[in-house]
C-alpha cells in the first residue's frame, strides 16, 4: 500500500508546486484544475484506504519511507502509520479540502491572487496529511509546523490589510508558544525512550510511567505526567485552548474558504487528533488527563459565552469553533478519545458547512460581515438558508442530526467518567459541557435569526443585488449538508461502540467509559427517541427559544440587557482581557526588555564601559608608554621575548 500512501500525500504537494511556481503559465483554470485533481485523487485513494481497513479487513500498516538522519542511536525517519484512526482523518481532511477547493472557484473568483490561493490550500492538504499519517514524532512535528506555516500564509493572504498581517503574525507566534511546549514534550519522549517512533515509544509506555523528572530540583515528578502535559501545551496552541486561543478569532481575517478548511474542520483539530494518537501515553497519567479536562472545560464554556456578543458573522462561528474544540478536549480528558474523534468528524462537516454558508452570505452582501446589517436574507438565498439551518441544528445537537449523536454521547461520556473521583475537575467539566449546550444554541440561533429572519437592515443598494450564489458555492454547501444530517446515524454505532479504532486508541480498564455506555446502547433510533428525556435536549431548546424571544420577538430587549449588565458585557467584549495579556504583557514586555538589554547591556555596559572604556584607558596608557619607544627593532624584540618568557614561565609553574 506504500504507493497509495505516497500518491495520497504527493498529489496535493505536486499540485501546490505547479500552481504556485507556474501559476502564470497554467492560468486560473489550469491552477484550479490541477489542484482539484490532486486533492480529488487524494480523497478517492483515502476512501479506498478506509474501505480496505474497515470493510475488507486489511490490517494497519506501519511503514518507513526514508531515513531522515541517524545519529547517536536515534533514528529520525519519515514514515506512515495508517490505521483506522488515520484513515478516518484522511477521509475527513481530503473530503472537506475537496469541497473547499470547489467552493474557492466561486469565492475567490475576482481575486488577483487566485493561483497563489489554490497553491496554498493544496500545500495545506499535503501538510495535514503528513501530520495525520505520520508514524513518528519528527514527522508529526513537521506536519504540525507546516500546517502552521500555511495557516500563516493564508491568514495574511490579503497582505495589504493591516489587520490581516497583524493576525497572521499573532497566529504564528501564539502557536509557537504552544510548539515550545510541544518540542520539549518530544524531547522528553526521547529522553525516556531514546526513540521517536510511535510503536517503540508506546511499547515502552509502562517503563516511562515509572520514571521521574525533576523540573524543580529536589522534587521528582512522574515523567509521563510531565511529558504528556508538555505535549498538551502544543495541542493547546494548535487547537486553540485557553489561554492560547487568542489567535483563532483573529484568524478570521483570512479568506472564508480557509476559515472553513483550516480554522474549523482540520488544522485546529490536529491537537485533538494528537492526544488521541498518544492515548497509550495519556492513559498512564490521570494528572495530565485532569489538566486536559480542565482546560477543555474552561474553553468549552467561556469561549462559547464570547460568541454571544460578537457581531461579525465569521467571528461568531469562530467562537463556536473554540467552544466545540473545548468539548472535544474535555472528552479526551475523560479518556473518551473515541467520542472526541467522533465529534471531531461530525464537527468537521457541519462547521465547514457553517463557514462556507457564512461565506456565501458574505459574497451576496458584497463583503459585509456585520450581522446587524443583515436580516431577512432567507427569501433571497434559499439554498444558503436551508443548508445553514441544517448546519446550525447539527451544531446545537438537535436530535437526529450528526452533532446530536456526537455531542449527546460526548456529554454522557463525561458524566460517566467517575474514575476522575467526582471531585472539582469532574463537576467543572460536566457542568461546563452541559451549560455550554444552552450557550451554543443561543449564539447559533441569535446569528441565524439576525441573518436570515426579521427586518431587512441592509442598505437599499445591497438589497437590490441580493441573490443566491453560483453553483460552485452552493454545491459544496449541499455536499457538506448531507453528512451533517446523516453521518451520525450511520457511524455512531461502529465508531463509538463497535471497536472501530481497534488498537489505534488505547483505553485502560476503568477509564473505558464508552464500554460501559455501550452496555446500555440500543441503537441510533432509540437514542433519538429518548432524546426528549435528556437535559441536553431541553437546554438546547431553551437556547433556541431564548434566541427567538430576544432577537425576533422582542428585538428591543438585548439593548436593555446590555445596559443592565454593562460590566459583564465589557468583560465579554474585551474577551476576558486575554488579548491585552498577550499583546501588552508578553509582546510589549518582550520589546521593552529587548530595548533595555540593547541600550543598557550592549551599548552602555559592554561597548561603552568595557570595550571603548578599555580602548580609552589603553589610549591613556599608550601616552605614557610612548616614552619607552625607541624606534629600534631589537628593543621591541627583546621586550617581546621577555614577555613571552614570563608568560610561559607562569604556565609551567602552574603545571
Amino acid at each position: 500500500m506504500l504507493h497509495y500512501y505516497l500518491i495520497i500525500v504527493l498529489a496535493p504537494l505536486l499540485a501546490a508546486v505547479l500552481a504556485g511556481l507556474f501559476g502564470r503559465q497554467i492560468g486560473r483554470v489550469g491552477a484550479h484544475t490541477v489542484t482539484i485533481l490532486g486533492v480529488g485523487i487524494a480523497f478517492v485513494l483515502s476512501a479506498l484506504v478506509l474501505y480496505q481497513l474497515y470493510w475488507a479487513g486489511a490490517s494497519p500498516e506501519n511503514l518507513s519511507v526514508y531515513t531522515w538522519a541517524v545519529t547517536d542511536g536515534l533514528r529520525m525517519e519519515v514514515g506512515f502509520l495508517v490505521d483506522r484512526l488515520t484513515a478516518l482523518m484522511m477521509v475527513v481532511v481530503t473530503f472537506v479540502s475537496l469541497m473547499v477547493h470547489v467552493y474557492t472557484i466561486g469565492y475567490m473568483h475576482d481575486d488577483p491572487g487566485y493561483q497563489r490561493f489554490f497553491s496554498f490550500i493544496s500545500l495545506f492538504t499535503f501538510a495535514m496529511l503528513m501530520l495525520v499519517m505520520s508514524n513518528n514524532f519528527l514527522q508529526l512535528f513537521f506536519g504540525w509546523e507546516a500546517v502552521g506555516l500555511v495557516s500563516y500564509l493564508l491568514i495574511g493572504f490579503w497582505f495589504r490589510k493591516e489587520s490581516a498581517i497583524f493576525a497572521n503574525l499573532k497566529a504564528f507566534l501564539v502557536n509557537r508558544v504552544g510548539d515550545f511546549g510541544f518540542i520539549l514534550g518530544i524531547s522528553g519522549v526521547v529522553l525516556l525512550t531514546n526513540s521517536l517512533d510511535y510503536a517503540e515509544v508506546f511499547g515502552q509506555a509502562g517503563t516511562m510511567a515509572q520514571q521521574t523528572i525533576e523540573v524543580i530540583p529536589g522534587t521528582p515528578w512522574n515523567a509521563m505526567t510531565v511529558v504528556c502535559i508538555l505535549l498538551f501545551i502544543g495541542a493547546m496552541g494548535k487547537s486553540a485552548q485557553a489561554p492560547l486561543h487568542v489567535w483563532l478569532p483573529d484568524s478570521m481575517e483570512g479568506p472564508t474558504p480557509i476559515s472553513a478548511l483550516i480554522h474549523a474542520a482540520t488544522m485546529v483539530t490536529a491537537g485533538i487528533f494528537m492526544v488521541a494518537r498518544m492515548s497509550p501515553l495519556y492513559e498512564y497519567t490521570e494528572t495530565a488527563l485532569a489538566v486536559v479536562m480542565t482546560i477543555g472545560a474552561i474553553t468549552a464554556f467561556f469561549m462559547g459565552l464570547l460568541g454571544l456578543v460578537q457581531n461579525d458573522i465569521k467571528r461568531v462561528v469562530a467562537y463556536s469553533t473554540l467552544s466545540q474544540l473545548g468539548y472535544m478536549t474535555v472528552a479526551l480528558g475523560a479518556s473518551a478519545y473515541g467520542a472526541a474523534i467522533f465529534h471531531l468528524m461530525t464537527h468537521a462537516f457541519f462547521k465547514a458547512l457553517l463557514f462556507l454558508a457564512a461565506g456565501s452570505v458574505i459574497i451576496a452582501m458584497h463583503h459585509e460581515q456585520d450581522i446587524r446589517k443583515m436580516g431577512g436574507i432567507r427569501q433571497y438565498m434559499p439554498i444558503t438558508y436551508w443548508t445553514s439551518l441544517i448546519g446550525s441544528l447539527a451544531l446545537i445537537g438537535f436530535p437526529g442530526f450528526s452533532g446530536f449523536f456526537s455531542k449527546d454521547l460526548l456529554i454522557e461520556a463525561v458524566r460517566e467518567s467517575h474514575w476522575q473521583g467526582q471531585g472539582a475537575v469532574y463537576w467543572v467539566a460536566y457542568l461546563s459541557v452541559l451549560l455550554g449546550v444552552f450557550v451554543t444554541a443561543l449564539y447559533s440561533f441569535r446569528m441565524f435569526f439576525l441573518v436570515f429572519h426579521g427586518k431587512e437592515r441592509m442598505d437599499e443598494e445591497t438589497r437590490s443585488h441580493l441573490h443566491e450564489t453560483p453553483w460552485v458555492v452552493t454545491l459544496p454547501l449541499i455536499m457538506l449538508a448531507i453528512p451533517s444530517v446523516i453521518i451520525g446515524w450511520i457511524t455512531v454505532q461502529p465508531v463509538l461502540f463497535g471497536d472501530f479504532f481497534g488498537d489505534a486508541i488505547v483505553v485502560t480498564g476503568k477509564h473505558d467509559v464508552l464500554a460501559s455506555m455501550g452496555a446500555h446502547w440500543h441503537g441510533s433510533l432509540a437514542l433519538v427517541t429518548h432524546a426528549v428525556m435528556t437535559p441536553v435536549f431541553w437546554l438546547a431548546a431553551a437556547g433556541v427559544f431564548t434566541a427567538w424571544f430576544l432577537y425576533l420577538k422582542r428585538p428591543d430587549l438585548p439593548e436593555t440587557i446590555h445596559g443592565k449588565f454593562k460590566g459583564l458585557y465589557v468583560l465579554l467584549d474585551r474577551k476576558y482581557y486575554f488579548d491585552d495579556l498577550w499583546i501588552k504583557g508578553f509582546a510589549g514586555g518582550g520589546r521593552r526588555l529587548g530595548q533595555a538589554l540593547w541600550r543598557f547591556g550592549d551599548e552602555i555596559v559592554i561597548d561603552g564601559f568595557i570595550v571603548n572604556g578599555t580602548a580609552n584607558s589603553i589610549g591613556r596608557l599608550a601616552a605614557i608608554l610612548r616614552q619607552l619607544q625607541s624606534g629600534y627593532l631589537y628593543t621591541y624584540a627583546f621586550a617581546m621575548i621577555i614577555g613571552l618568557t614570563m608568560l610561559l614561565g607562569w604556565l609551567i609553574w602552574l603545571q
Binding site: 526514508y66 531522515w68 538522519a69 541517524v70 545519529t71 547517536d72 542511536g73 536515534l74 519528527l138 512535528f141 513537521f142 509546523e145 507546516a146 506555516l149 500563516y152 500564509l153 495574511g156 497582505f159 495589504r160 493591516e162 498581517i165 503574525l169 504564528f172 507566534l173 509557537r176 508558544v177 510548539d179 515550545f180 518540542i183 520539549l184 518530544i186 524531547s187 522528553g188 526521547v190 529522553l191 531514546n194 523528572i213 525533576e214 523540573v215 509582546a587 518582550g590 520589546r591 529587548g594 530595548q595 538589554l597 540593547w598 547591556g601 550592549d602 559592554i606 561597548d607 568595557i610 570595550v611 580602548a615 613571552l644 608568560l647 610561559l648 604556565l651 609551567i652 602552574l654 603545571q655
Partner: protein, 506 residues
C-alpha cells in the same frame, strides 16, 4: 605530485593564486570596462573550479573512519618543527564545501553592484577563500595560526574599503577584538610545543596535561574562539562589522568566518583540553543560553535589518556552543554525539540561511540604499518573487521543519533535554523569539500597503539575483528534507571525538 594527493593544497592555493593574478593585473578603475569584465569572469571561473575540486573531497571521503584523510605533510620550518601539514575529517569537509559553495555565489552577487575597484574586491574574496579553506584543513598549529590571522587582512580591507559610513570604527573594532583573542591562542600553541616538541595538533590532543594547565589553555583558546563565534558578551563587534560591510562581506562573515570559532572549539578545545572544557562547560552553557535569550530579545527591537540579522546570527551560534558543551551534563549513554552533530549541522545551516538573509537585504539595499525597516513596507506588492524568497528564508531562520534551520536546533534541543529540563527550556525559547524577530521584520518590510513612492518604484529580482537566491533556497530545503548525507559524513568523527573527550586526560 598528483591532484589526488594534493587536493587540499590545490583548494587552498588555487584561489590565492587567482587572487594574486587579479591583484597584479588589476583594472582601469572602470567597472564597466572589458578588462574589469574579464577579471570578474576570471574570479568566477577560479571559484567554480575550486568548488568542483572540493566535490572531489566529498567523493573521495571515507565516512567510515575518524582518521584524517587527504593528508599532506612536509617540513616547513624544520628548526622549530613546524610542518606544512594538512588533513581533513568529518568536521572539516562540510565546512570546506560550504566555503567553496558560498564564495562563487558571493562573486555572482557582487557582479555589477560593486563600482569601486571591482577587481580588487574580487581579489580580496579569492584570497579570503583560500585562507579559510586553509584554516579548515591545517593540522599544524603554526600553519593554523598563520591562516587564521591572515584571514583578517582581506576582511579588514573588504569592510574598510567597500564598507559604509562608519567603516573605520567597525574595522578597528573588528580587528582588535579578533586579533587580541588570537594572540592568546598562539601563546597556548607555543606552550604546547614545549611539551610535545612539534606543532602537530593531533599530538597536542595526545599530550598529558594537568587540570591547571588545561584550564589556562582553555581560556586562551576561548579568547580566540568566543570572539569569532561570537559569544555573549564579546559579541558587540559583529553588529557593527555587519552594518558597515558590503553585502558580500556580510555573507562571508556570517556564513563562514563565524564558523571558525565553532570549528576551533571542536578541533582544538575539546580534544586538546578535555578536562579544561569540562571544568568550564557550565559557564559555556550559561553563556550560550544568554546568547539565545538575551540576544533574541535584543534582535526584536532592531530597526536596521542588517543589525537584526547580525543579532539573530549570534543567537543561532549560541546553539552551536550549547551543543558542543552538553557532553559532561548528560548522564545517560547517548546524547553527547547528538548535541555535537546538531551543533555542526547548525553551523552549516546557519551559513546558508544567514548568507541568504544578508543577500536579501543586499538586494533591497542596492535599490533603495537603506537598511532601515521603517523605510520599507509592502515590498511584496512590487517585488513578489523576492518576497517569496524572503519569506522562505525568514521561515528557515525561524527554524521551520522542512528547512535546514530546524535540523540542528531540533537535535540540540533534544540533547539538552537529556542534560537538564531547564537547559532545554531556555534553548527552546528560540522557537518563539526567533519567529518573533524574524517574522515581525517580514511583516514590516514585505507585507502591508506600499510604504512610500520609492517602494512603489522597486523592480523585482533580476535573473542574476534570482539565480543566486534560488540556489540558496534549494540548499536550505534539501538539507531540511534530507540531512542524512551531512549527518552521516560527520558521525564517525564525532563519535570518536566524544569517546576521546569523555575519557579525558587526567
Amino acid at each position: 605530485m598528483t591532484l589526488a594527493t594534493h587536493l587540499l593544497s590545490a583548494l587552498i592555493w588555487l584561489p590565492i593564486a587567482g587572487s594574486l593574478v587579479l591583484f597584479l593585473i588589476g583594472d582601469d578603475g572602470d567597472a564597466a570596462s572589458a578588462r574589469a569584465a574579464a577579471m570578474r569572469w576570471t574570479a568566477l571561473a577560479v571559484t567554480i573550479v575550486t568548488f568542483i575540486l572540493s566535490l572531489g573531497l566529498v567523493a573521495g571521503f571515507d565516512a567510515g573512519t575518524a582518521a584524517m584523510q587527504f593528508v599532506e605533510r612536509s617540513p616547513w620550518i624544520e628548526t622549530v618543527g613546524v610542518d606544512y601539514y594538512l588533513g581533513v575529517d568529518g568536521l572539516s569537509v562540510p565546512l570546506i564545501v560550504l566555503t567553496t559553495l558560498i564564495t562563487p555565489l558571493v562573486v555572482v552577487a557582487g557582479w555589477d553592484s560593486i563600482k569601486l575597484r571591482p577587481t580588487q574586491y574580487f581579489s580580496a574574496f579569492l584570497m579570503l577563500e583560500g585562507l579559510m579553506i586553509g584554516v579548515f584543513s591545517a593540522l599544524d598549529g603554526i600553519l593554523f595560526y598563520v591562516f587564521w590571522e591572515f584571514m583578517l587582512v582581506p576582511m579588514f580591507l573588504i569592510i574598510g574599503v567597500w564598507g559604509g559610513a562608519r567603516r573605520i570604527y567597525a574595522t578597528i573594532k573588528f580587528f582588535l577584538y579578533t586579533f587580541l583573542g588570537s594572540v592568546l591562542m598562539l601563546v597556548a600553541f607555543i606552550y604546547l610545543y614545549g611539551l610535545v616538541g612539534s606543532f602537530d595538533l593531533l599530538e597536542f590532543a595526545k599530550a598529558p596535561l594537568a587540570l591547571g594547565a588545561q584550564q589556562v589553555i582553555f581560556l586562551a583558546f576561548l579568547a580566540a574562539f568566543a570572539v569569532k563565534v561570537p559569544m555573549w558578551p564579546v559579541h558587540t563587534w559583529l553588529p557593527d562589522a555587519h552594518v558597515e560591510a558590503p553585502t558580500g562581506g556580510s555573507v562571508i562573515l556570517a556564513a563562514i568566518m563565524l564558523k571558525m570559532g565553532g570549528y576551533g572549539f571542536v578541533r582544538l578545545s575539546l580534544p586538546i583540553v578535555p578536562d579544561g572544557s569540562a571544568y568550564f562547560s557550565t559557564m559555556m552553557i550559561v553563556l550560550s543560553l544568554i546568547a539565545v535569550v538575551y540576544i533574541g530579545l535584543v534582535a526584536l527591537v532592531q530597526k536596521d535589518m542588517k543589525k537584526l540579522i547580525a543579532y539573530s546570527s549570534i543567537g543561532h551560534m549560541g546553539f552551536v556552543t550549547l551543543g558542543f558543551f552538553l557532553l559532561w551534563h548528560i548522564s545517560g549513554e547517548s546524547g553527547a554525539v547528538l548535541g555535537i552533530s546538531g551543533a555542526m549541522v547548525q553551523m552549516i545551516s546557519h551559513g546558508l540561511i544567514s548568507g541568504a538573509m544578508f543577500l536579501c537585504v543586499g538586494v533591497l539595499y542596492d535599490r533603495m540604499h537603506s537598511r532601515q525597516i521603517p523605510d520599507y513596507g509592502g515590498v511584496a506588492n512590487t517585488m513578489p518573487v523576492f518576497a517569496a524568497f524572503m519569506v522562505l528564508f525568514a521561515m528557515a531562520n525561524a527554524g521551520l521543519p522542512g528547512t535546514s534551520g530546524f535540523v540542528g536546533e531540533f537535535m540540540v534541543i533534544i540533547a539538552s533535554f537529556k542534560a537538564s529540563f531547564w537547559i532545554a527550556f531556555f534553548a527552546a525559547t528560540t522557537l518563539v523569539l526567533g519567529a518573533a524577530y524574524t517574522l515581525w521584520m517580514v511583516k514590516r518590510v514585505i507585507y502591508g500597503e506600499v510604504g512610500n513612492e520609492r517602494v512603489a518604484a522597486l523592480e523585482d529580482l533580476r535573473r542574476r539575483e534570482f539565480f543566486v537566491l534560488g540556489i540558496f533556497a534549494l540548499l536550505v530545503l534539501a538539507l531540511g528534507v534530507w540531512p542524512a548525507p551531512l549527518v552521516d559524513m560527520m558521525n564517525a568523527t564525532i563519535e570518536q571525538l566524544v569517546q576521546q573527550v569523555a575519557l579525558g586526560k587526567l
